[in-house]
Symmetry: C2
Subunit: 206 residues, 2 copies
DNA sequence: TGTACATCAGTGAACGCGCGTTCACTGATGTAC
DNA sequence: TGTACATCAGTGAACGCGCGTTCACTGATGTAC
């Protein structure tokens, strides 16, 4: 996203590259301004260094750009979660790592995290872009981790689904409040994570 | 907020009544649309049934309207919290009632709750409108309740501040996720409240 | 190897819209005499 | 009790702005012959 550089035209057959540039500019704009409304078609075009109408070759309208950012973000988010727990067989550590990765993503990309979870979902899901299912999927990830702890006897949970829900809301609340209140005297990251994992997943402290 | 009714002009000396009407319209607009950006000066004027410039007699600019809604909301919120725990001497029940009131406000006025906690605070607080202090104050309310539990020996907490923080983020996460995901299979309200109060405030189940 | 041409990536000007804000104003209401 | 007048609550028209979107276009790039 270099606004001043004169963009060199893509070669034939490489027009698709502009799509990636548009997406990158939109993502940067969202992350910088912290506002979905700031991601205007014209602002994105300025970010890429192209004329506004050029975007229409790659996206049907403004909302499609934002939607694409959401899709990309969801992909990045779940990939990070999956990667964080890969190769971890100890169920308690697995849960902890998953939670830590969740918070890490939210801290590294606060606005992209917001766009995933901080908007109200529609009464009925668009079959093409089921935001509710997307959210539920990342929740299921958590529920699975708690279930493993319960199955292994590491957690005293009698209701993994309910406990996973509690963990989820705590993670979400921590992620958003922490981003919104940088000057609050937050306890150390690890201490809060401990509270959440031990207190809510009913795992005894190590 | 009746858009069609022809508004009868306020009598002399009662011009201030329009201020209240503007505030009410702005609040209704925010609560209906769920978007701060939707609270435009012109939309508010339409809601009240007046010409847009009439607002300038009562508010210096658009942001002042939103600020006034925030101030009013903060007042309503803390008043509800205070009232919820008045006359309750049992510390555990006091904490529980405080948490329940917190969630109740967020559920009844989801968008007004959002406007309090779901925006990033500025790097430095405006001395006239210290949003950080406002938030901290409602948090202190929670910290005080946890402290009372610890002092009374009802809670096993060794760090009331840290535990109150954990409760706070869980309440906030629950409030916002619940509002954003009406179709998620939420466990019963009471069960989640129990998890939060018992698991995070370290109070043994009754 | 040269050239005419189709294709593709991207542009510039223009549109109508709603916005925040300003300005000069209007007309009902109350008050002084 | 009547009337002139100041005040107050609120208006209508206009401004410049950035927006999303449309339209006809341009000019470089590759290709067919």
């Amino acid at each position: 996203m270099d606004e001043s550089a004169a963009r060199t035209r893509n070669r034939r057959g490489e027009g698709g590259r502009l799509r990636a540039d548009i997406l990158a500019a939109a993502t940067a704009l969202l992350e910088e301004t912290g506002s979905e409304e700031a991601v205007t078609l014209r602002a994105v075009a300025r970010g890429v260094g192209i004329a506004a109408p050029s975007i229409y070759a790659h996206f049907p309208d403004r909302t499609a750009i934002v939607d694409a950012v959401v899709d990309q973000t969801f992909h990045d988010f779940t990939a990070l979660l999956r990667q964080a727990v890969a190769d971890e067989s100890d169920p308690a550590e697995r849960l902890r790592r998953g939670c830590a990765a969740y918070l890490e993503f939210a801290e590294t990309h606060p606005q992209r995290y917001r766009i995933l979870f901080d908007r109200r979902e529609p009464a009925e899901d668009d079959p093409d872009r089921p935001i509710a299912s997307i959210r539920k999927e990342s929740f299921e990830f958590l529920a699975d981790a708690v279930r493993r702890c319960a199955d292994a006897g590491v957690s005293a949970s009698t209701d993994p689904f309910g406990d996973a829900t509690a963990i989820w809301v705590a993670l979400h609340g921590y992620a958003t409040l922490r981003a919104n209140m940088p000057r609050f005297p937050w306890p150390p990251h690890d201490a809060t994570l401990d509270r959440i994992v031990h207190g809510l997943a009913r795992i005894a402290p190590r």
